[in-house]
Amino acid sequence: MNFSNTLPSCSPEDLGDAYSFSDRPFRVYVHIPFCKKRCGYCNFNTFTSFSLAPGFDKNTYPSLLEREIKRVKKWQEEHSVSLKPASSVFFGGGTPTCLSPSQLSRILEAIREAWGIEEGAEISTEANPDSVEGKELFDLKKAGFTRVSFGVQSWEPRILRILDRTHSPAAAWRSIRKARKAGLSCSADLIYAAPSEKRKEWIRTVRLTSSLGLDHVSCYALSIYPRTKMGHQLEKGLIAEESDLAQARDYELADSILSRRGYKWYEVSNWAREGKECLHNIGYWKNDDWIGLGPGAHSHFSNLRFWDFSRPGPWAKAVQKGDLPWEGEVLTQKEREEEDIFLGLRLKTGLDLGKLEKESGKEAPSDLLSSFRGLAYLKEGTLLPTLQGRLLNDFLARSLMDYFLE
């Protein structure tokens, strides 16, 4: 999906000129826009054809990314945008494992060559549970990958059919076992509140997930977007969206099962064993710098947010020409403060209210805090969301913005 045309955008050169220095860690995201089949709910920037534009297919993609990497580095150097080794690398999609381990490691090597990768850095890839073989997982490990995140979504065949997923529960189970054997840290993504999903089906899914020796679990509520397969079904009345009440109930169930099995929440949608949090993911919420590579990938450097063209044609053309395939925006001080609020509130570490009060010169009034009762509490100047506050995170964010940023 391309939102860029609705946003005020400026040219890559303007972006570079407006850059202000940042000492945050640097991370790399690589978007792999291929899938064998599009899932019913998917509105991501991905394509089921392996040939996307002239000179842009599965085989040429690593070399296009190599070109983009070099061009980005040149831009950094030209504008004195801070340059440091990557603290984490994340391959997402689409389905990154549509590319062979050797192609993935070639991209990884290009990143290492351009920026360097910190010793012991987290290097993750997403994987479809039926798209990886045992040998491939060993090859990924050998290439330097440390972590693999499987799109399990559900263990119930009925729900997988509704979600229009291709894999079987058994295939997912085998993939996870092989990945663990290969020495990779494993994560599973689950989807809750699928149309007609019963409570016991969701409980079964979370229970099984939590007993597979995974390090990390993500749970996302199903969002149905217009112009997707499920969006059309919704329009025709073939399926119905679950209420916020049902979503909240599923979330609470997941939280209680996962925490009993040793997974602690660290971000609204993420749970992990102690020390196994996804650092790359946390980086998004902590306002780290990162470069996104590939069509539609988002990047952030200090006060700049920009994104690669999402349509493969224009993207490939720009990269082939040696241009930066970007559109973007320069954040105002107020926008950065807004982001600090809603990003901070999503994390277990909470929002530094003291800092906000100091910057705005305002103190949080008692009626504001009392309207947060049951949703968030103050501890040593930090506002920490409760379980209910995680669910009503947007309300908390809007209330704080209304008060502090007017």
């Binding site: 946003l7 969002s223 979503q247 609204v268 998004y284």
Partner: protein, 622 residues
């Protein structure tokens, strides 16, 4: 027909002033058009359909709201006459304007659609003409249509007026058939104006209009003496003295003249822009020939319906005030006083002649003046007698006292309903449902019945007309007039949102209808108010007693699960949009309510809900 420069000076005996009165849709505007083209006042090229209805709304709704005065020339027996045609509105809401127009005439054309026959307003207009002692020329229109019942309608008309069949003219305004004969009859039958040309100058202001470029245009009828363009004129009531910028007649273009003589109808432009200085009903005289005694003016119109009008954007309040001031210039029947609502902010409590009048005023304010409005539910006015003997007039439900009330008086009307006899049973049932008391029933010919009822005004002005039409397949017609007041068992129903009173939603109801109002309003609001982080009770109450309740369950989850691929920008825009939306909401009882919720809740649209029907049925059994 080539048009020569028309004569503007006429001796009194060559002047005829008349109105066309008719039930709505009986073809009055078409007849006026035909007269304009036949007399050469407008060439074919200039001819527009319904020329006299200049307001967009009139044209769209096919009804005439404002009276206008056009003078045309007509030659009979080699003499050129000046015929001034004063247009009148056809809807019952505007009876007041009809009587104003009639006061400036000596005669009228009573126009009846030959396919429809006599309708409720035909009668009321006829009675108004009789009260004003006007010469009445009965005319059947649309006689060329296949459905015309010319003879039948003619005989009813003869019975009504006590005239012979030969005196009823037959025309087709559409084709022009019979219109020449009608113009001849106007000259022959309607007397010339009777004023004294030598007497002190007196002219009656019977209408005024605000023009953005020229200021106030005042329409006058010279009753005695004359006014010259160079005269210093005096408006007797406001005692203001001015030299007119322009004196003229409408033919139908504004044509300046040097003098307006006894009996003539024309206009004056004085350049004043202050609404209050051009009061309809005031008398104009001139310094040269000053009158001591003013003419009998008009009775101020009575407001029947009241509603609060509030601008959607609070900064439009001054614009609303200016717009109402200007509108009042050519619609003296609007009244307004400022009011404040906790839900809707600053606005005006406005009085209207009826529901259609209210809708037209709102449309005009929005269309002509660009004010976006929200209106509260309309109500009538009540007189409340308190236990201590004092009295209050209530035009806004919030003024209705909660206790120590001795008696409440509500306005009543006498309604005439004319219907084919097959529907008499349905009409009687409908009137009973609306607390009507039957006064009488007469047959108007073999198939048509006139039913007369006394009913509370509040029962008839809201939706009664639509129900009447739907139960009689559109055949019944309705007319009504105020008939004083009666004691009634009324209560105020309040709506509480999260425990806080929302003043804009209070209503005064008959005791038997209070429960229904409470049920419907709470149900409507439950659907309209977005869920919040806490549970919201919505209650309907009479005083301290809760009569209906709905609960909006709390919102449990609003967080977006994922910011895909680090797309933080999208998330920020979404939150910004939500905050913008919330800024426009009204806060009542700590609940943010979008303005649209009030608009829908206050719309007159009825809520048909199975649950409500069952609850009401259960209640009726008890």
């Amino acid at each position: 027909m080539a048009k020569s420069e028309p004569e503007t000076f006429f001796p009194q005996e060559l002047i005829r002033n008349f109105s066309i009165i008719a039930h709505i849709d009986h073809g009055k505007s078409t007849l006026a058009d035909r007269i304009l083209s036949l007399t050469g006042a407008l060439s074919d090229r200039q001819m527009r359909e319904q020329y006299l209805d200049s307001m967009d709304i009139e044209r769209e709704r096919g009804i005439t709201i404002k009276s206008q005065a056009v003078t045309v020339n007509w030659v009979k027996d080699k003499k050129t006459y000046a015929l001034s045609m004063i247009d009148t509105p056809g809807h019952v809401d505007f009876n007041y304007e009809v009587s104003r127009a009639l006061a400036a005439c000596e005669g009228c054309v009573l126009l009846v659609d030959a396919t429809q026959g006599i309708e409720a307003q035909t009668l009321s207009n006829l009675y108004l003409a009789m009260q004003n002692d006007l010469t009445i020329i009965p005319v059947l229109n649309k006689i060329d249509l296949p459905g015309a019942k010319t003879e039948e309608v003619k005989s009813t008309l003869c019975d009504l007026l006590g005239v012979e069949g030969g005196e009823v003219l037959e025309v087709s305004a559409k084709t022009g058939f019979g219109v020449k004969e009608l113009l001849d009859a106007i000259v022959e039958k309607i007397p010339a104006p009777s004023g004294n040309p030598q007497g002190p100058t007196r002219a009656l202001i019977f209408d005024s209009q605000y023009d953005a470029y020229r200021g106030i245009i005042t329409y006058i009828r010279v009753v005695d003496g004359s006014i010259e363009a160079k005269d210093r004129i005096i408006q007797m009531k406001s005692a203001s003295s001015l030299v007119p910028l322009e004196l003229g007649i409408v033919d139908p273009f504004m044509r300046p003249v040097e003098i307006l003589t006894t009996g003539q109808v024309g206009y004056v432009i004085t350049g004043i822009k202050d609404v209050r200085q051009a009061q309809v009903g005031d008398t104009i005289t001139c310094e040269r020939n000053e009158a001591k005694e003013s003419l009998k003016g008009y009775k101020a119109p009575e407001s029947m319906v009241y509603a609060g009008l509030f601008p959607l954007e609070t900064d439009q309040f001054p614009l609303l005030r200016q717009s109402l001031d200007k509108l009042r210039l050519n619609d003296a029947s609007i009244s307004y006083t400022p009011e404040t609502s906790s839900a809707l902010g600053f606005g005006f409590r406005c009085g209207f002649l009826g529901l259609l009048h209210m809708q037209i005023v709102i449309e005009r304010l929005e269309r002509e003046f660009g004010v976006d409005l929200i209106s509260t539910a309309p109500n009538v006015h009540y007189r409340v007698e308190m236990a201590d003997g004092s009295e209050i007039t209530v035009t806004n439900p919030t003024q209705f006292p909660e206790n120590k009330v001795k008696a409440v008086w509500e306005p009543v009307i006498e309604a005439s309903i004319i219907t084919p006899k097959d529907y008499v049973g349905d009409v009687m049932k409908l009137c009973q449902e609306h607390r009507g008391k039957m006064l009488g029933m007469e047959y108007l010919g073999p198939d048509r019945v006139c039913l007369r009822y006394k009913m509370p005004t509040g029962e008839i002005i809201f939706g009664f007309f639509d129900q009447l039409k739907s139960r009689t397949k559109g055949y019944a017609t309705l007319d009504y007039a105020s008939a004083g007041e009666e004691k009634a068992d009324l209560v105020r129903v309040d709506i509480l949102i999260h425990g806080e009173l929302s003043d804009a939603l209070s209503a005064i109801c008959h005791k038997d209808k209070a429960y229904e109002y409470g049920l419907k309003m709470t149900k409507k609001l439950k659907k309209l108010i977005p869920r919040q982080q806490f549970e919201i009770p919505i209650q309907a109450a009479i005083g301290q007693r809760i009569i209906a309740r709905e609960t909006i369950s709390p919102l449990r989850k609003d967080v977006l699960a994922k910011c895909y691929g680090g797309d933080i920008t999208r998330k920020r825009k979404l939150l910004e949009k939500q905050r913008e939306g919330k800024k426009k909401m009204k806060i009542i009882g700590n609940v943010a309510i979008p303005q649209e919720a009030f608009i829908s809740a206050l719309s007159l649209e009825d809520l048909d809900d199975k649950d409500i029907r069952e609850k009401l049925k259960a209640r009726a059994k008890k």
